[in-house]
């Protein structure tokens, strides 16, 4: 699955705004780079100098603990100076501040900006206003590319390859940028992707986006290699999209009975943070089939790979 470094062209994009627009080759290149980053992260001396002298800004309009921490560590392990900016979206006039903030930050000459925003397309909008490289850390219900990459890396390390696997993405597909990015990536790498959820939580036209649609966990999980659970936001549990937590867990929560219809060696994933007892039974989350903790580790590695790949396009960088 590893691409030949001699023939591999350089990752050609200046920004990472989504999985959409990446070729399978681009994706594999990032995964291969991430494998190296895993090695770095497992050493005592977890430091490279690729981004020495570079400034990375983590600009989060939505609060996030793990993604922001993951990007921060990734930047620091590559030697960058990392600054975190959390802009609570309630305290600002949203769009105006987005563009204004972009211009302001741009004037401080950063090299990389990592952005999370509640609005789909907002990161792309920001990327058009600045001179540096921009990484999408989640834009509304649109994309979350580094999550899909870390999921792919986790799967590949455990299953050897992605082609031919049956991956079931379960739960709130409608509101999930993780599901969208994963759907595009897994299709690009040749997996069979299923989505499972109540129809109120499935986007219109998802069947035309490369997913087999199921509304029953029992049917959808049959022979699955990977079971990917999604978080259900609390405000969507009580009658707006599903009637109650109790009913949701009964039909869509991952318990042993439902997991049993998947392949015996099926593995369970969750992008976090988890609602134990809502979408996933606690003992499954902590059990032998769970990859959830490994996903977190791969998150740092994938983000290091992305930062490194984009840094090749920075002005005056070598290899350009």
């Amino acid at each position: 699955m590893t691409s030949d470094p001699a023939s591999a062209r350089l990752f050609p994009h200046r920004h990472l705004l989504g999985i959409e627009g990446l070729t399978p080759d681009d994706i594999l290149q990032l995964l291969d780079m991430a494998e190296d980053a895993v090695e770095v992260s497992r050493k005592v001396e977890k430091k490279k100098t690729t981004l020495r002298g570079r400034t990375q800004i983590n600009l989060f309009f939505e609060s996030s603990t793990r993604t922001q921490a993951s990007f921060e560590l990734a930047g620091k392990r590559l030697g960058a100076d990392v600054m975190n900016m959390s802009v609570a979206s309630s305290s600002i006039k949203k769009g105006e501040t987005l563009i204004d903030t972009a211009m302001t930050l741009n004037a401080m000459r950063p090299d990389l900006i990592v952005v999370r925003h509640h609005a789909a397309g907002a990161v792309g909008l920001l990327a058009r206003k600045v001179d540096c490289s921009v990484i999408n850390a989640g834009d509304g219900q649109h994309e979350h590319p580094t999550q899909a990459l870390l999921d792919a890396l986790t799967i590949r390390r455990n299953k050897g390859q992605i082609r031919g696997l049956i991956v079931a993405i379960c739960g709130d597909i409608l509101h999930s940028r993780v599901a969208r990015s994963n759907l595009i990536l897994l299709n690009a790498l040749g997996a069979e992707v299923r989505v499972i959820g109540p129809t109120t939580l499935l986007p219109t036209g998802i069947e035309n986006m490369g997913a087999k649609v199921f509304t029953s966990m029992r049917e959808g999980l049959k022979d699955a290699d990977i079971v990917m659970m999604l978080r259900l936001q609390r405000e969507r549990m009580n009658g707006s999209f599903v009637p109650s937590v109790k009913e949701y867990f009964r039909y869509y929560g991952l318990d042993h009975e439902k997991l049993a219809v998947a392949k015996p060696n099926a593995l369970v994933m969750h992008p976090g943070p988890m609602n134990r007892g809502v979408e996933i039974a606690s003992d499954i989350a902590d059990g032998a089939q769970s990859l959830i903790r490994e996903q977190v580790e791969m998150g740092v590695a994938v983000r290091m790979a992305v930062l490194e790949a984009l840094s090749r396009h920075l002005p005056n960088a070598e290899g350009r």
Binding site: E20, K94, G95, E96, L98, I99, H117, H118, A119, A120, G121, A122, G124, L125, D139, G140, Q141, H142, E143, R177, R180, P203, T204, G205, I206, N208, M209
Partner: protein, 443 residues
């Protein structure tokens, strides 16, 4: 400039929306109305002091009557004034504009109607006419003083960009308005069903990660309204429909003989959801751009006359409200000044004839609000435009007269240019190759 100076347009291609016929000839204006026209006019001796305009073979038709434009005066003059909207209208071939009541304060009081009529008289070159709110404060609860507002000069009653959710309120308004012969114009959208939505619901919205607005949000409200018209015998116009299913509902209502008409926004005729591309906020409009099939159905509706009128849905939005992420930005696109060339696309594409287009842009909207405009007829008000239907240009938003530049046709290749606009027999706009000349209403 003197009032009612005689005027003679020569070498014109006269196109009459009523007959649909084109005739080469001249047109004479006296006392602000069309005095005579045709190939038989003697152009050798124009009346004393007459202004003679050589059309050079270009087309002369009645000016357009636009039943849906958001202006911003009073309350949002930084976005648009009656004066700036009037200049945009004149340059786009529109000689009568009905302004929406979504202002601040809203047009729910006869004093505001009176104010707008005076302001238009003093500052605008084209006929800027106010519509009034259907409910007080546009809140959808209590009907406005329909009689008094109408007496003050309100053209029709509408809550503008808002829908009246309460069926009882709508029923009473339709019933009460009938006694005054007043027309009710309604934005057909179920607000609960469309809440949070920012574009057409479907695969594209799913791909972009944007919340969608289902077509049912429109058809449910339209079906409800038709049922209420059937119940009340009211006079009703659906402001702007966007999907093929709505056309079927309109067709059934018309077959039944109900007093129902409908409009379509130029945006829904010229664009579809794919034009949104990567989150272009100037294409976020209400009703949303639908699929190409829906767009084609709308165009066919104009050709068949099932759709009565085309509106500009002119809605100026500035940087503050539009330069935002797609889900956060305001609805609306400006449309007055590009109305002629964009509408002509349908003719150039062979989808509608010039006569079909002109009926939807001038004759039928004029008829619907009881104006004797929109026709080339002796004695009709000389609200006329002279245009070249084929003249090509690339739209530079900076030259637009509107105070806001939120046009979805930014940089588009368009064909068709207005050269002269007359209102009441007076020249209010002349295109002079790159720069244009506006004439105020008053000396």
């Amino acid at each position: 400039m003197t009032e009612h100076r005689p005027l003679l347009i020569i070498n014109a291609e006269l196109v009459d929306p009523v007959s649909g016929k084109a005739e080469k000839g001249a047109l004479a204006v006296q006392q602000g109305v069309i005095a005579e026209m045709g190939h038989a006019i003697d152009v050798s001796a124009p009346p004393e002091g007459a202004l003679v305009i050589d059309a050079k073979g270009r087309t002369v038709t009645p000016g357009f009557v636009d039943l849906r434009a958001f202006v911003g005066e009073p309350g949002a003059e930084h976005r648009e004034t009656l004066s700036s909207a009037s200049r945009a209208a004149a340059a786009g071939g529109v000689t009568t504009v009905v302004c929406m009541p979504d202002t601040n304060p809203p047009v729910d009081d006869p004093a505001v109607v009176d104010y707008l009529i005076r302001r238009a008289r003093d500052t605008a070159g084209v006929n800027m006419m106010p519509s009034a709110a259907l409910t007080k404060g546009l809140e959808g609860h209590e009907m406005t003083e329909i009689g008094l507002l109408r007496e003050a000069g309100a053209v029709f009653f509408t809550d503008g960009a808002k829908s009246v959710a309460n069926a009882q309120v709508m029923r009473r308004a339709l019933t009460y308005a009938r006694d005054f012969g007043a027309l009710i114009v309604h934005h057909v959208e179920d607000a609960d069903l469309s809440r949070g939505g920012v574009m057409n619901e479907g695969e594209l919205a799913s791909r972009l990660g944007l919340p969608g607005i289902p077509k049912a949000a429109e058809t449910i409200m339209l079906e409800r309204d038709i049922a209420l018209v059937r119940l009340t015998g009211g006079k009703y116009h659906a402001a702007s429909i966007s999907c093929a299913e709505s056309l079927e509902i309109i067709a059934r209502a018309k077959d039944e003989g109900l007093d129902v008409t409908c409009g379509v926004s130029i945006n829904n005729l010229a664009l579809n959801e794919n034009d949104i591309g990567s989150y272009r906020t100037f294409l976020k409009v209400s009703p949303p751009l639908r699929s190409e099939e829906d767009r084609k159905a709308m165009v066919a509706g104009v050709a068949s006359g099932l759709i009565d009128v085309i509106v500009s849905d002119h809605n100026p939005q500035d940087v503050e409200t539009k330069r935002q992420p797609f889900v956060d930005c305001a609805d609306g696109a400006i449309g007055l000044e590009t109305l002629l060339p964009v509408a002509l696309r349908l003719v150039h594409n062979g989808d509608v004839t010039m006569a079909q287009l002109l009926r939807a842009l001038s004759l039928r909207p004029a008829n619907r609000i009881g104006l004797d405009r929109g026709r080339l007829q002796k004695g009709a008000s000389a609200d006329l435009i002279l245009f070249d239907p084929d003249e090509p240009f690339v739209l530079d938003p900076e030259i637009l007269h509107s105070r806001c530049k939120n046009t979805p046709f930014d940089g588009a290749r368009l064909q068709g240019r207005v050269h002269v606009t007359l209102v009441g027999g007076r020249v209010v706009y002349e295109y002079a190759g790159g720069h244009s000349v506006h004439h105020g209403r008053k000396v």
